[in-house]
Each structure stands twice: as structure tokens, then as C-alpha cells.
């Protein structure tokens, strides 16, 4: 049933240009990050690692959480509009599967964003002609970034479900990213979902040793807690179709 729900969700996305944002928008931070790297090359002497910090510093804090917020808000917008709640909740499928399909799709988009960021990073490095091999940690950065992104998606999906509006949850995503920056600066990054995204990507410090256990545990807890909250809302609240 989950597979069918997933297929239905994928079908809803067909012909929608929303995925384009995840492919095109990372080009900005890539160009700007590379430009900044070239402009400060005498200070940034750690080749690929310095380039990574320039590419991801701002994007993981302000840009990605809000962008993931757009996708999550868009997913629920489909249900909020055109009386779709009626057919969504009366579909012969468990609510858990319906929700899981949305979360899985958001996770796929989070992975897509990371793959784009990774490819742009490699491309920029090659164009600039950075010597030495590509950091072997790159797949790990991207995977941990995806995992952090999934916990952000779980939070955003919950707020987009409850708030029933498009813009406020997206603004909430940006605010979350900014507060996450403060949590990371205080050393409490593992305790906040929006910080997990930049911690996972090692945005500020590519050489940082990530404490994998608390990281995975925290991402898992946030994902599960917000998924359960969303399910509780879906089961308990009367969803009056608009």
C-alpha cells in the first residue's frame, strides 16, 4: 500500500516545476562560493575543503531549510486546495502510509538537492583547477546532509499540515535556519533539527569530526516525533475541506 501511495504522490508531482528549484537554485551558492574562494585564495589555503566551506556556509543555513520548506508546503497545498482532503482521507489506504509517502518523497528531494550541491562542488573545483584529489568524505557529507534534511522535512511537513497556508511555514523554515545557526554557535547543534542540516554537511568546518551516534539519534528522534505528531493531527482533527 505504501508503494501505491508513493506512486500516487509521484504522480501528483508530474509536470510540476517545483523540483527545478532544487536543481537550479544551488547554482547561485556554487558560483558565489567559488567566486569568494578565488577572491580570498591566500586565506583559504585548504583547497577542496575551503571550497566546500564557501559553497555550503550560507546555503545550508538560510537557503536549504527554506527550500525544503517550499517543497513540504507544496505537498500539503495539493491537499488543502480543491476539496482534496475529502478524497485524501477517505482513500482506502492507512493514513500512516499516506503520510509516509509524502515524507519519503521529501527525503528523495532532500537527496536530490545534496546530489546537485555535490555535483556543482566537483564541477566548480575542476573548473577552478584545484589540485589534489577530491575529499573522500564528500559522500558522507552529502548523506549526513540528506539525513539532517529529512528531519527538517519532518518538522516542515508538520507545520505545513497544521498551518494550512503556503508562505508562513516557508518563512518558518528560514527562521529555523537562523535559530539553528545560533544553536550551532552555542555548541547545541545536535539538539536542534535545523542545525543538523549544516552539521551533517559540515558547512562551517569540513574537517570537523561528526559525532555520528548523537547525530543519527537526534535526526531519528526529530523525524519520528514530528511524524507521530502529524499522524496524530491527521487522525484526531476534523479536516474540513476548503
Amino acid at each position: 500500500m505504501l508503494l501505491r501511495c508513493l506512486k500516487a504522490e509521484a504522480q501528483k508531482c508530474r509536470r510540476s516545476p517545483v523540483w527545478l528549484a532544487f536543481v537550479l537554485l544551488p547554482i547561485f551558492p556554487a558560483i558565489l562560493g567559488t567566486g569568494n574562494y578565488l577572491g580570498n585564495i591566500e586565506v583559504l589555503d585548504d583547497a577542496w575543503y575551503s571550497l566546500w566551506s564557501q559553497h555550503t556556509l550560507f546555503s545550508s543555513m538560510f537557503f536549504l531549510p527554506a527550500l525544503l520548506g517550499v517543497f513540504c508546503a507544496w505537498q500539503w497545498r495539493l491537499e488543502h486546495a480543491d476539496h482534496n482532503w475529502n478524497s485524501f482521507l477517505t482513500a482506502p489506504a492507512p493514513v500512516g502510509d499516506l503520510y509516509a509517502a509524502k515524507l519519503i518523497l521529501a527525503a528523495v528531494v532532500s537527496l536530490l538537492a545534496q546530489v546537485c550541491i555535490g555535483l556543482l562542488f566537483l564541477l566548480s573545483g575542476k573548473i577552478v583547477g584545484i589540485p589534489g584529489p577530491v575529499p573522500p568524505e564528500l559522500p558522507e557529507w552529502l548523506l549526513c546532509g540528506t539525513l539532517g534534511g529529512v528531519s527538517v522535512c519532518a518538522v516542515q511537513l508538520f507545520f505545513s499540515l497544521v498551518l494550512r497556508a503556503f508562505a508562513p511555514p516557508v518563512a518558518f523554515g528560514l527562521a529555523g535556519g537562523i535559530v539553528g545557526l545560533m544553536f550551532t554557535a552555542q555548541g547545541w547543534g545536535y539538539a536542534f533539527p535545523y542545525s543538523l542540516l549544516c552539521l551533517g554537511m559540515r558547512a562551517n568546518n569540513p574537517q570537523m569530526e561528526l559525532d555520528l551516534l548523537p547525530f543519527v539519534l537526534s535526526a531519528l528522534i526529530y523525524t519520528v516525533v514530528f511524524a507521530l505528531l502529524a499522524l496524530r493531527y491527521l487522525k484526531r482533527w476534523d479536516i474540513a475541506a476548503e
Binding site: 517545483v18 528549484a21 537554485l25 547561485f28 551558492p29 558565489l32 567566486g35 569568494n36 577572491g39 550560507f58 546555503s59 538560510f62 537557503f63 527554506a66 527550500l67 517550499v70 508546503a73 507544496w74 497545498r77 486546495a81 497556508a165 503556503f166 508562505a167 508562513p168 516557508v170 518563512a171 518558518f172 528560514l174 527562521a175 537562523i178 535559530v179 545560533m182 554557535a185 476548503e242
Partner: protein, 249 residues
């Protein structure tokens, strides 16, 4: 005037106050976190440091906040499919003007309140020097002017596309380019609409590479930048209005 009153009426349960309160809260938290990390040497710049950082924070937060407000005002018409009904009673041009005037008033209230709040923070903290009332007023006016230019762009997008993702993605790009444009060469900053938050700042920083001393100084925004800002605003307004007026409902 009636249409403008109706705009406020339509938005009475749309939690606009909550959105504005969230914007103020994020700005306050950000500035609070920033000022607690400064040492006594930096704090002696007081008001200048406040206005310099407020312009930076604006460049990050306001583009998406403005996009959110514009989207809140325009989304309700798409959701309720009200265009056919509305446009049989009022001209599309006057509807566009009413929505823009609503945005102008909300943004003015938000930014005046924001300035009052930070003035109070500065006075309570006992920042050195005379309180720059005039400059705070001018800063509020500039923030409002830049925000209105961005609002014209966002309203155009929110009205044109029923799917608000387009407008919000533009808002996110704006927030991102707003902060990053501070690293651009000066000529390029003028080509980025969201870069005007930083470009029109009343305080600039001068960092001496040799002595490693940071110095802040007051400056007036050049007339050419004010003219360019007006030009951007006019272009967004005319294009957005034309697209809306000619749209088939």
C-alpha cells in the same frame, strides 16, 4: 478606499500580526545574540553598530518576510477563486492598487514598530552618544522603500501564479542574494534588487588590513542609488500591474 478597507477585512483572520511578530522576534533574537558576543571595545560604536547590523539582518530576513506578506494577501483570492466576482465589480487596476496599498501600510507599521523597538533597546542598553532620532527615521524610510520595491515584485508574482511556490522561491533567492550581494563588486550589487538593503545602509564599515582595526562611519545614500531603487520599483510595479490587468480570469 473601500477596496483598501476590504483588504484589511479579508486579512483579519489570516494571522498577519503573527507573521509580523515572528519577523520582529527573529530580528530581536538575532541582534540580541550578536550584541551579547561583542566586547566593550566594539560596543562603544553603539548606535552605528546597531544600524549597520540591522541593515544586514534586513537583507536576510525581509525579502522572504515581504514575500510571505504578499503571498498571504494574494493567495486568498486564488484559493477562493474570487477573481471573476471581484473583477465584475472593480477594475483589475484598482484591485492591484488596493493590495499594494495594503502591503505599504502593513510594512510601514511593521518597520516603524521595529525601529521603535530597537531604539528602546539602545536606550535601555545605554549606547554611547546622542540618540540618532533623525537617522533612525531615515533608516526606517529606506527599509520601507526597499521593501516596497521587493513587495511590488512579489505581489506581481503572487498574483500571476496561483501556485505560491514560484513567489516563495523568488523570496528565498532574494534572502540569499540579499546577504551575498554584500560581497559583490559595487556595480553588480545595483543589479540585484535585494542588494539595496545593504547598499542603502546609513553606516559603512572600514576595516584596516594593516592595523586590523574596524571603524564605522555615517554616510548618506547617493542620489543615483535612490534613483535606481525608484527605477526598479517602477519596473516591478508596471510589469506586475500589466500582467495582472491583462490576465484572463
Amino acid at each position: 478606499m473601500k477596496l483598501l478597507r476590504l483588504e484589511f477585512y479579508k486579512c483579519r483572520r489570516r494571522k498577519i500580526v503573527l507573521v509580523c511578530a515572528a519577523v520582529l522576534a527573529v530580528e530581536l533574537v538575532w541582534m540580541g545574540a550578536f550584541f551579547t558576543r561583542q566586547d566593550a571595545e566594539d560596543l562603544k560604536w553603539g548606535w552605528m553598530l546597531l544600524l549597520y547590523n540591522l541593515a544586514t539582518v534586513d537583507a536576510i530576513i525581509l525579502p522572504l518576510s515581504v514575500a510571505t506578506l504578499a503571498s498571504r494577501s494574494c493567495e486568498l483570492e486564488h484559493k477562493g477563486s474570487t477573481w471573476k466576482l471581484l473583477e465584475t465589480m472593480a477594475s483589475p487596476g484598482s484591485l492591484y492598487a488596493a493590495k499594494l496599498a495594503w502591503g505599504a501600510l502593513v510594512l510601514a507599521a511593521l518597520l516603524v514598530l521595529r525601529s521603535g523597538l530597537f531604539l528602546a533597546v539602545g536606550i535601555v542598553q545605554g549606547f554611547q552618544g546622542e540618540i540618532p532620532w533623525g537617522r533612525f527615521g531615515l533608516f526606517t524610510l529606506i527599509s520601507w522603500g526597499v521593501s516596497m520595491m521587493v513587495y511590488a515584485l512579489q505581489q506581481g508574482l503572487s498574483l500571476r501564479f496561483a501556485n505560491q511556490a514560484a513567489a516563495l522561491v523568488c523570496g528565498i533567492s532574494g534572502s540569499f542574494l540579499g546577504i551575498l550581494s554584500m560581497l559583490f563588486p559595487p556595480a553588480l550589487v545595483r543589479c540585484v534588487p535585494w542588494g539595496y538593503y545593504g547598499l542603502m545602509s546609513l553606516v559603512f564599515m572600514d576595516w584596516n588590513q594593516v592595523t586590523r582595526v574596524t571603524r564605522f562611519y555615517w554616510r548618506w545614500p547617493p542620489v543615483t542609488d535612490v534613483a535606481l531603487l525608484s527605477l526598479w520599483g517602477a519596473v516591478f510595479l508596471i510589469v506586475g500591474r500589466t500582467l495582472f490587468v491583462r490576465k484572463e480570469v
